[in-house]
């Protein structure tokens, strides 16, 4: 059944070629892209049905040799946690493509082709089980993002993209050097082979790439500009999905294959995550615009997820996987809502917004629901994730949990400030009474994301109990995910 995984990667890429090559008009191109994205969701549901959670481990895998003299192969497959991350990817991409289809983009064929290509690349990152293949998909994510932001972005897009690309490639190229050394010294590039390395330098090479992409403080310099200048749906994808690829890399490669360097550098990384958590939350509280709040809150949440990952115990890892999916859905919805607000008010600056709730109940409800879940109100899935992470990291050091708890309060502060500044108080100078409520098409894009969040709020164990074999992540990691 390995062909299902390959199909998950190739269907969107094939869709991208279809959209690019044939001379469709803008509407048909968008419709085809949306159909392909929805078909992709269907394929993922099929994978979900076929994955045997009781057995766990690598399933639906396929391996063919790519170049045999250095032992590189095309090896793809799914684990429990990567299955959920792939699900996050396809759902968010479908929502964002739907939003772009409705909003209309100039150069539609190019745009939708690039979005589909991005889908295929991100799914490839989550399913690759060979080091070089992982690197190929990792880099392949960059090209569509560069063009999407650089062509369809806001006024500051050229500077934003250069910063984004240079930062990301600096990390990735160090990872390439580490991959070359690792693969040649181990004699194989296959991740499922039973090898581990104790080299600190190689660990740092991988950690550099993941730390920049996530981003982890202090490598987040590219974040505010890139998130502000992207088109809203691309910001959704960047913040919701691409950052999770970095955390996935930490779990799949850095922690699993480098157990001793992980112990050596764990404190440094946890401290950086803690700083990012507090710093991001404070900056979010002070940000003057919608996108700024969501961007910095993303920095903070990634710090929190890193807490869970580098706790390297059952609670921490389960919480991290759940929180990855949560944050992906939350920030995707928030960026789409930011796009909706920007369409109506031509700006996201709080000074010019306010009073959106009057006459626009649907928008208010959706924003309020998403915002309240984002601040991890007890009963929401974000609360379940955060609680598990903080409980897990408590076992490493109680200080981290204290920082995390403080950050929860800060999250409440910045989220409520966001909701209030947009929805409540007097109507701002850019808000006109004629601005419409959320249209059915926008609801069609955003509500499924929120519905997933609500479903997870009722049943977070769907993810936490089904991410690792026998729901024992610590054991799974130490036995290299067998």
């Amino acid at each position: 059944m390995g062909w299902l995984t390959t199909a998950l990667i190739l269907v969107p890429i094939g869709g991208a070629l279809l959209v690019w090559v044939l001379p469709w008009d803008a509407f048909t191109a968008g419709a085809i892209a949306l159909l392909v994205a929805l078909g992709e969701v269907g394929l993922w549901i099929e994978c979900l049905i076929r994955y045997d959670f009781g057995k766990g481990g690598l399933q639906l895998d396929q391996q063919t040799s790519w170049f045999s003299d250095l032992n590189v192969s095309y090896h793809v497959g799914l684990y429990g946690f990567s299955l959920w991350l792939v699900g996050l990817t396809v759902v968010v991409m479908a929502a964002t493509i739907a939003y772009a289809f409705w909003a209309g983009r100039s150069g539609a064929r190019a745009y939708f082709g690039l979005m589909l290509l991005l889908t295929g690349a991100i799914v490839g990152v989550f399913t690759a089980q060979d080091l070089l293949l992982f690197y190929v998909f990792w880099e392949a994510m960059l090209i569509p993002l560069y063009v999407l932001i650089g062509v369809w972005g806001g006024p500051g897009r050229l500077g934003a993209t250069i910063k984004f690309v240079i930062y990301t490639m600096a990390g990735s190229l160090l990872m390439l050097a580490a991959i070359v050394v690792l693969g040649l010294s181990q004699g194989t590039f296959d991740l499922t082979a039973a090898w581990q390395s104790s080299s600190d330098w190689l660990f740092l090479g991988f950690a550099a790439a993941f730390a920049v992409k996530a981003p982890l403080f202090p490598f987040h310099g590219w974040l505010p500009d890139a998130y502000r200048e992207s088109p809203p749906e691309v910001a959704s994808v960047l913040s919701g999905v691409v950052s999770k690829a970095a955390i996935y890399g930490f779990i799949r490669i850095a922690i699993t294959k480098f157990p001793e360097p992980t112990k050596d550098f764990r404190t440094v990384i946890l401290v950086l995550a803690a700083i990012g958590l507090v710093y991001g939350s404070l900056l979010a509280f002070r940000a003057p615009d919608f996108r700024g709040v969501v961007a910095y809150s993303s920095l903070a949440q990634i710090g929190l997820i890193t807490f869970g990952v580098f706790a390297v115990n059952d609670l921490g890892l389960d919480g991290a996987v759940l929180q990855m999916v949560n944050h992906g859905l939350i920030s995707a919805s928030l960026f789409l809502l930011a796009g909706a607000i920007e369409r109506r008010a031509t700006t996201g600056e709080f000074a010019r917004l306010g009073g959106f709730a009057r006459g626009r109940p649907v928008l208010a409800t959706v924003l309020m629901t998403t915002g309240v879940i984002a601040l991890a109100v007890p009963g929401s899935t974000a609360f379940a994730g955060e609680f598990a992470i903080l409980a897990g990291v408590f076992k490493v050091g109680w200080g981290y949990s204290v920082v995390g708890a403080v950050a929860i309060v800060l999250a409440a502060m910045y989220m409520l400030r966001l909701i209030s500044a947009v929805l409540h108080e007097r109507a701002g100078p850019s808000v006109v009474p004629e601005a419409l409520d959320l249209r059915p098409a926008e609801l069609g894009a955003i509500v499924p994301l929120v519905a997933c969040l609500l479903a997870l709020s009722v049943w977070p164990a769907a993810i936490t109990e089904r991410s690792f074999t026998n729901d024992r992540p610590g054991h799974a990691i130490s036995s290299q995910l067998r």
Partner: protein
């Protein structure tokens, strides 16, 4: 009766095909009416290159064991045949790029004849087995290229480029000849294999004459390969020469120079490996540094691509300097997508140049991506390929070269290569940014008036670009077959 050596004509088949094309095109210059000379010359040059490619494939298939031919003056082996295939392929693409180039019609047939002659010289050079044939092949193609650079006499830049290439190239050839003389003086032998035998038999490994001669040979070959610090001619010559000539030079000259460099160093000087590996590593680092840093500030696209080719000479030298089978494989593999990307990118520049009737800069590339989607996507792919991003063969090539460096134990060279790649991204992305992300309204130049207002349909150039694109992307997916071919080719050298 003078005893003449047995000439194995089949071993010389690629060169003979191209020489035939040269002769026929030259005859066309005098016999064919002026308006038909372009088609006639282009047709026979293309047939010559295609025939040379086909013969090189036949030679590759039929010669699993390397052997000498024509009194051991040339070596018939898979290494030479693979290099000939790449050269002939580059020549074919270059003919396609040249076809619509507006040059003085009275010399157009000579242009194609010189192109074929240069190709013949390069094919001969990569099979050279002694110092005399090495020099002969080198001068053969160099002189053809000197004239080709200067052939567009209307342009002052073209004449300047030809003169500069002549003077500096001749200097490089003179240094190489002097070095060959020193080596001959020390060993008394011209053939590469025999030089190695003499060096080990007479314990000449540290002999001053041999080492100085080796150094001068490396310098001479470095001039041809545009490796820093012997690169001074490259930006000016690439910028001044007619763009199709630049396209051909940037791809085929490097293939010939690096193939020959590998052959000479590994066959004739294995005993000095501890010296030339380090020397070439230093040259590689210099090329990477100078090529990438200078390219960052270029506004003229041809100069940018020239400096980029210097930096790629550095990357290829990483594979050459380790002197191992993996390194040789890496170099041979790398040259395939590199040649395609090089010719393809200069082809796009040529198309834009014809459209604007002005030199192409980063500013007047604005809007190219949207107006001419095929050329835009192709150029973007070539830039990503040069930068080493998947899914292009450039990524796999860099990966292989870095693997070779690590396997030899020089991890520091991998780090240098990685840092160089990081720096190079800025200017490769600048080209893509210029094409796609800057509105055409920023374009200050008015495009040259063309009937109908649309860019001219240049079928031959577009076909070349599509072929180059196919090779660039195809070499990413079909790595295993190409590596197998490279492996057999590398096995012909006496490691």
């Amino acid at each position: 009766m003078i005893q003449t050596p047995h000439v194995e004509w089949s071993a010389l088949a690629p060169e003979l095909m191209l020489l035939g094309a040269t002769g026929i095109a030259l005859l066309g210059a005098v016999l064919i009416p002026r308006e038909n000379r372009r088609d006639f010359g282009a047709l026979f040059a293309a047939l010559g290159f295609a025939g040379a490619f086909a013969y090189a494939v036949v030679l590759y298939v039929h010669n699993p064991d390397p052997h000498g031919a024509v009194a051991n003056a040339i070596r018939v082996d898979r290494f030479g045949s693979l290099a000939q295939m790449i050269i002939a392929g580059s020549g074919l693409l270059a003919v396609g790029v040249s076809y619509a180039q507006r040059m003085r019609d009275e010399h157009i047939a000579e242009y194609y004849s010189l192109l074929a002659a240069a190709g013949a010289g390069m094919c001969f050079l990569v099979t050279a087995n002694n110092l005399m044939t090495l020099f002969l092949g080198l001068e053969w193609f160099s002189i053809s290229l000197y004239i080709l650079c200067a052939i567009d006499r209307r342009l002052e830049g073209s004449l300047e480029a030809g003169l500069k290439y002549l003077i500096i190239g001749s200097f490089g050839s003179a240094v190489l000849l002097f070095g060959s003389a020193l080596v001959y003086g020390a060993t008394g032998r011209l053939a590469f294999g025999q030089i190695a035998q003499q060096i080990s038999a007479q314990n000449l490994t540290s002999d001053a004459l041999v080492v100085t001669g080796l150094a001068m040979i490396i310098v001479g070959l470095g001039f041809k390969a545009s490796a820093a610090p012997f690169h001074q001619w490259t930006p000016d010559v690439y910028e001044g020469a007619p763009t199709p000539v630049t396209a051909f030079m940037s791809a085929a000259t490097k293939v010939a120079a690096f193939a020959l460099m590998l052959r000479v160093l590994i066959t004739a000087f294995p005993a000095e490996a501890h010296l030339w590996t380090v020397a070439l590593a230093a040259v590689a680092v210099t090329s990477l540094a100078i090529g990438n840093l200078a390219a960052l500030v270029q506004r003229s696209v041809k100069r940018l691509l020239a400096y980029s080719s210097i930096s790629h000479a550095g990357f290829i030298l990483i594979g050459v300097c380790v002197g191992t089978p993996l390194g040789t494989r890496a170099v041979l593999y790398y040259l395939i997508p590199y040649a395609a990307m090089s010719i393809g990118s200069f082809a796009v520049v040529a198309a834009r140049e014809r459209e604007l009737a002005a030199p192409v800069t980063l500013d007047n590339l604005a809007g190219l991506g949207w107006e001419r989607p095929l050329l835009g996507i192709a150029m973007a792919t070539f830039m990503f390929g040069f930068a080493g991003l998947p899914p292009t063969g450039g990524f796999v090539g860099k990966f292989y070269v870095f693997s070779a460096a690590y396997e030899h134990g020089w991890t520091w060279l991998v780090i240098v290569g990685v840092v160089a790649t990081m720096v190079s991204l800025y200017y490769y992305l600048a080209v893509i940014r210029a094409m796609y992300m800057r509105p055409a309204s920023e374009l200050e130049l008015r495009p040259a008036a063309v009937a109908g207002g649309a860019p001219p349909r240049e079928t031959a150039l577009q076909a070349s670009v599509v072929l180059a694109l196919a090779v660039t992307i195809g070499s990413f997916f079909a790595v295993q077959p190409l590596i197998e071919v490279a492996k057999h080719a590398a096995a012909s050298l006496p490691f």
